[in-house]
C-alpha cells in the first residue's frame, strides 16, 4: 500500500528539519507579534517596523531562492528570468491592492490613479475581476505558471539548455520589462503600482497587518522548503538530478526529460509568483525594474553563495546577501557593487558548494585535521 501523501510529506524533513521549522514558525507566529505589538518601543527587545519589513522582504526572497535552487541546483537549468515570475506575481496581486484603494486615490476615481492620469475611461479587459481577492489569488498562480509552461515547453522540447537557455530567459524578462515600462500596457508604466491603502479591507500600514504578512511569508517559506524537500527526495527528484548530471543517458534509459524539467520549471515559477505576491504588500511598491536583468541574476548569486543543491543553502544565501546589501547600501553605498561583484567571483571560484559546502568542508577538515594532528603527534613520539 502506498504511504499517504501527508505521511510522506511529514517524513521529508528529518527531526532536525522539523525542529528548525518549528522554531522559525514559533518566532514568526508568537515571538514577532509579541515583540512588535506588545513591547513598547523603548524595550530593547522591541522589533521595529523597519526590521519586520526587512526580514519579511528577505523571507520572500528566500522563497525565490529555494525555487531557483529547485531548477538550478537540482535540475541544472540556470534561469536568468526568475525576476519575471516574481514580478508577475507581484503585479497580479498589486492589481487587487490598487482596486482596494477605491476612491481614496488622488483623483477620487474608481479607476486607479495612473489610468485617470492617462485619461482612460474604463479598465482594460485584463483588470476584470481584479477587485476580488480570490480571483487575483488565482491569477497570481495561473498567469506565471502558464507563461512558464508555454515558454518552458517549447524551450525544453527544442532541447535548449545550458547558457543558451539562460540567455533566452534573460531576453524574455528583458522584453517583459520593456513591455511593462510602456504606459499603454496598462500596469502603470514607469511607476508601477504604489500608494496601497488596504488589503482585505484592513489598513496595509497597520502593525497587525504587517505582522500577519510576516507570519504568512515565514509559513510560505516553510511550506516551500517542505515541498521542495519532498520533491527532491522522491523518485521524481532523483530523475531530475539524473537529468542535470547526464541528460542524454536519462533519455537513453527511456525517460523523456521534457516533462520532468517542465514540471520543476513551472512549479519554480509559481513559487516565485507567490513570493512576489507576498512581497508587494510588505514593500508597498511594484515596478518594472523588478524584471530587470540584474535582479534576476542576483537571485542566482543568493543560491550560489548559500550552496546549490542543498535546500537550506539558498535560504542562508538569500539572508546573507540581502542583509549585507541593506547594511552596505546604508553605510557604504559606493562599495556595495564592489562587494557584490567580488562575491560573484569568489562564490564561483572558491565556494562551488556555497557557505553550506564550506561549513561541511570545514567540519570534515577539523576532523581530518585532528587526525593529522594525532598522526603528527604519534610521528613525533615515535
Amino acid at each position: 500500500m502506498r504511504t499517504p501523501l501527508i505521511v510522506r510529506l511529514g517524513r521529508s524533513f528529518d527531526s532536525r528539519g522539523w525542529l528548525l521549522s518549528g522554531l522559525v514558525a514559533a518566532f514568526a507566529l508568537i515571538a514577532v507579534p509579541i515583540m512588535h505589538l506588545l513591547l513598547p518601543p523603548e524595550n530593547p527587545l522591541h522589533l521595529s517596523t523597519w526590521f519586520i519589513t526587512l526580514i519579511g522582504k528577505i523571507l520572500c526572497y528566500a522563497i525565490v531562492a529555494v525555487a531557483m535552487d529547485l531548477i538550478w541546483g537540482y535540475g541544472g537549468i540556470l534561469s536568468l528570468g526568475h525576476g519575471l515570475f516574481f514580478a508577475l506575481g507581484g503585479y497580479a496581486f498589486g492589481m487587487y491592492l490598487m482596486r482596494q484603494i477605491g476612491r481614496d486615490g488622488s483623483y477620487q476615481s474608481d479607476l486607479p490613479d495612473f489610468m485617470v492620469f492617462l485619461d482612460w475611461k474604463e479598465m482594460p479587459w485584463f483588470w476584470a475581476g481584479s477587485d476580488s481577492f480570490l480571483w487575483v489569488a488565482l491569477l497570481v498562480l495561473v498567469v506565471p505558471a502558464l507563461i512558464a509552461f508555454v515558454f518552458g515547453y517549447f524551450a525544453f522540447r527544442s532541447r535548449i539548455k545550458g547558457v543558451y537557455f539562460s540567455i533566452i530567459t534573460q531576453a524574455l524578462t528583458y522584453a517583459a520589462m520593456l513591455l511593462f515600462f510602456r504606459n499603454e500596457t496598462g500596469f502603470g508604466g514607469n511607476n508601477g503600482f504604489t500608494d496601497f491603502k488596504r488589503i482585505l479591507d484592513h489598513s496595509i500600514t497597520a502593525a497587525e497587518t504587517r505582522v500577519v504578512l510576516f507570519a504568512l511569508s515565514a509559513l510560505a517559506l516553510i511550506g516551500t522548503l517542505l515541498l521542495a524537500r519532498y520533491l527532491v527526495t522522491s523518485k521524481y527528484g532523483r530523475i531530475l538530478t539524473a537529468i542535470r548530471d547526464a541528460e542524454s543517458r536519462v533519455m537513453f534509459i527511456g525517460y523523456n526529460p521534457l516533462w520532468f524539467k517542465l514540471f520543476a520549471w513551472t512549479l519554480s515559477a509559481m513559487l516565485c509568483a507567490i513570493a512576489g505576491a507576498l512581497y508587494v504588500p510588505q514593500v508597498g511598491i511594484i515596478n518594472p525594474s523588478e524584471m530587470s536583468v540584474a535582479n534576476s541574476i542576483e537571485i542566482a548569486i543568493w543560491v550560489a553563495v548559500g550552496g546549490r543543491g542543498t535546500l537550506i543553502g539558498p535560504v542562508i544565501g538569500a539572508f546573507l546577501v540581502n542583509l549585507a546589501k541593506s547594511w552596505f547600501t546604508v553605510s557604504f553605498p559606493e562599495y556595495w557593487l564592489f562587494f557584490l561583484g567580488t562575491l560573484f567571483v569568489v562564490a564561483t571560484l572558491y565556494l562551488p558548494q556555497g557557505v553550506v559546502g564550506l561549513w561541511s568542508r570545514l567540519r570534515s577538515g577539523v576532523k581530518q585535521g585532528g587526525k593529522k594532528a594525532i598522526a603528527a603527534a604519534k610521528g613525533a613520539g615515535a
Partner: protein, 531 residues
C-alpha cells in the same frame, strides 16, 4: 577664350567697367510704395542683369542711399554713383539710406538669386539655382529662359529646368502648365509634391486647376514623386538599419570570439564596450589639455588606446578569473557578471556616476544629402565603414595569421590542438584579449553616437547576446548576417510600431527562432556528441 576670361576677370575685379544704367530705372527703387519698388527691382534685373547685381546687393545690405536726385551706394567712406558706379567727389552732404520691408526683401533676394544665375563661378550659380527653385514664379520665366539658354553645366541645368517648370505652373497657358507638371514629375523633392498637390484639389465648386489634362498629369506626377519619396524613405531606413546593424556587429564581434572559441559567456562584455568609450573620453580630455590645436583628431588616437585598454582588462579577467572556470559555463556567466558590476563601480568611482560628454569631431558633423529627403550623417557612415574595417581585420587575423590558425584549431577541437602542440592556455588568453579589444573598438565607435556613462554597457549586453545566439556560435558570417538583419529589421519595424514595441517584437522573434533552430542561423557543420 582668353579674351572671355579677361573680360570676366575685369568684370569681377572692377565694377567700374560696367556700362552705365539709365538713372530712370533706379529712381523707383526709392519709392514709398512697396509695389512700385518691387516692379522696379524686376525691371532693373531684366534691363541690365549684370549691372543690377551690385545695386540690389547694396539695397539688401542697406547701403543704397538717395542723395538729392541721384542714387548712390555708400561703400565705407566712399560714395559711388549707383548709375555709373563712379566715385563721387566730393561726397554729397545729405545722404538718406533706403530701408526695405520684409516683402521687398523677399523679392529682392529672389531677384538677386536670379541674377547670380549668370555668375561665372559654378558654385555661385548652383547656389542661386537652388534659391530660385525655392521661390520660382511666373515673373521669373524670362530670366530663367535666358539662364537656361546660357547654362552649360548639366546639374545646374536640370535644377533650372525644375525651377522653370515650377514658375510655369502660374502660366495662363494650359499647354505650358501641362509641360511644367510633367517636368516636375521627375523631381524627388517633397516640396515639389506640396506644390503640385493644390492642382488636384477642389476649391469651392470648381477645381483649382481648370484644365482636366493638367489635372490628370498632376496626379500622375504626384504619384511618381510619392513613389520616389517612399523609395528614398525606405533607403533611409535601410541605411539607419545598416548603421544600427554595424553597431550591433561591433558590440557582438568580440563576443563571437570569446563565446565561439572558449564557450565563455562573458557578461562583462558590455563593460568592455564602456572601457572603450571611456578611452575616447580620456583621449579627448588629454587632447584638450595638451594638444588643443589637434582636438579634432583625438578620435584617431582613441582607436588604439580603446583597443589596448579593453584588451588589457580582458587579459586580466581571463588570467585572474575565467581561466579557472573553463568547462563550467554557468559559473563563468555568474563570475563575469560579478566582474561587470565591479567594472561599473570602478567607472563610477573614477569618472563619476554622471554621463560624460564626448564631442563629435568637426569632421564627423554634417552628412551627405543623397536625395532631397535623405541625409546620410557622416558619423553613421564612418561607423559603418569602421565596422567593415574591424570585421576585415578580424577576418584577416583569424584566417591569415598563425595566431588565427591556432584559435581556429582550439575552437574546433581543443584536446587535439593541445596534442599537436598548440599552447591552448596562451591562445585562450590572447583570443580573449582580442575579443575584449574589439569590444573596446566598438566602445570608441559608440562614444560618438550614444551616451557614455557607467551604465552604458548594460544596454548592449542583451542585444549582443541576441546577435551571437541568432547567428550561431563560432561563426563570423553568422554574427554579421544576424547583426545586419536585426538592425534593418528593427528599423523597419520601428517605423511601423515605435521603438519599444519593435524591440519587444525582435526579442520575442529571436526567442521563437531559437526554438526552431537552436544552433542559430549558421550552425557549424559536423557531428557533435552532447555532453
Amino acid at each position: 577664350m582668353r579674351t572671355i576670361g579677361l573680360l570676366f576677370c575685369g568684370w569681377l575685379l572692377s565694377a567700374s567697367c560696367l556700362a552705365a544704367i539709365d538713372p530712370v530705372l533706379l529712381k523707383p527703387l526709392a519709392a514709398e510704395d512697396s509695389d512700385t519698388r518691387i516692379a522696379a527691382i524686376a525691371a532693373l534685373a531684366e534691363a541690365a542683369p549684370e549691372e543690377a547685381l551690385p545695386i540690389l546687393q547694396a539695397l539688401s545690405e542697406g547701403s543704397l542711399a538717395i542723395a538729392g536726385e541721384r542714387m548712390v551706394i555708400v561703400d565705407g567712406r566712399r560714395v559711388l554713383d549707383a548709375a555709373s558706379n563712379a566715385e563721387i567727389k566730393p561726397a554729397p552732404g545729405t545722404i538718406e539710406t533706403i530701408g526695405i520691408n520684409n516683402r521687398v526683401r523677399r523679392e529682392l533676394s529672389a531677384a538677386m538669386a536670379a541674377l547670380r544665375l549668370f555668375s561665372a563661378e559654378r558654385a555661385v550659380r548652383w547656389q542661386a539655382a537652388q534659391e530660385v527653385t525655392a521661390s520660382a514664379d511666373a515673373k521669373m520665366l524670362p530670366l530663367l529662359d535666358r539662364a537656361l539658354a546660357s547654362e552649360t553645366d548639366g546639374e545646374i541645368r536640370s535644377r533650372l529646368q525644375m525651377a522653370h517648370a515650377q514658375a510655369s505652373l502660374g502660366s495662363t497657358d494650359a499647354e505650358v502648365r501641362l509641360a511644367a507638371v510633367r517636368v516636375l514629375g521627375e523631381s524627388s523633392d517633397p516640396r515639389v509634391k506640396q506644390l503640385l498637390l493644390p492642382l488636384t484639389e477642389k476649391r469651392g465648386d470648381g477645381w483649382v486647376e481648370p484644365d482636366g489634362a493638367v489635372r490628370a498629369a498632376a496626379g500622375t506626377s504626384i504619384r511618381a514623386i510619392e513613389q520616389r519619396l517612399a523609395w528614398a524613405e525606405n533607403l533611409g531606413r535601410a541605411f539607419t538599419g545598416l548603421s544600427l546593424g554595424s553597431i550591433l556587429l561591433l558590440a557582438a564581434l568580440g563576443l563571437a570570439i570569446t563565446y565561439g572559441v572558449m564557450g565563455v559567456i562573458n557578461m562583462a562584455h558590455g563593460e568592455l564596450l564602456m572601457v572603450g568609450a571611456y578611452s575616447a573620453w580620456v583621449m579627448q580630455s588629454v587632447f584638450r589639455a595638451y594638444f588643443p590645436e589637434a582636438i579634432d583628431w583625438y578620435l584617431l588616437a582613441a582607436v588604439p588606446v580603446g583597443f589596448l585598454a579593453a584588451a588589457l582588462v580582458g587579459v586580466l579577467m581571463e588570467r585572474i578569473v575565467i581561466r579557472h572556470l573553463y568547462g563550467r559555463p554557468l559559473e563563468t556567466l555568474l563570475a563575469t557578471w560579478g566582474i561587470s558590476l565591479f567594472l561599473m563601480q570602478v567607472a563610477r568611482t573614477l569618472f563619476g556616476a554622471q554621463n560624460v560628454e564626448v564631442a563629435n569631431p568637426a569632421w564627423l558633423a554634417g552628412g551627405i544629402e543623397v536625395l532631397p529627403n535623405l541625409l546620410l550623417p557622416w558619423n553613421r557612415i564612418i561607423i559603418v565603414a569602421f565596422s567593415i574595417a574591424v570585421l576585415s581585420a578580424m577576418w584577416a587575423i583569424l584566417n591569415l595569421s598563425r595566431l588565427g590558425m591556432f584559435v581556429r584549431a582550439v575552437t574546433q577541437n581543443r584536446p587535439m590542438a593541445g596534442c599537436v602542440g598548440v599552447p591552448t592556455g596562451r591562445i585562450d588568453t590572447l583570443a580573449f584579449g582580442l575579443g575584449a579589444g574589439i569590444a573596446g573598438l566598438g566602445g570608441v565607435a559608440l562614444s560618438q553616437i550614444a551616451n557614455v556613462g557607467p551604465d552604458m554597457g548594460q544596454g548592449y549586453i542583451v542585444d549582443s547576446f541576441m546577435v551571437v545566439v541568432l547567428g550561431g556560435v563560432g561563426q563570423l558570417a553568422g554574427a554579421v548576417w544576424a547583426a545586419l538583419g536585426l538592425g534593418v529589421f528593427t528599423k523597419f519595424l520601428e517605423g511601423w510600431t515605435g521603438a519599444v514595441v519593435a524591440k519587444i517584437v525582435v526579442l520575442v522573434f529571436i526567442i521563437i527562432f531559437i526554438q526552431k533552430r537552436p544552433q542559430g542561423l549558421f550552425a557549424v557543420k559536423g557531428r557533435f556528441v552532447e555532453s
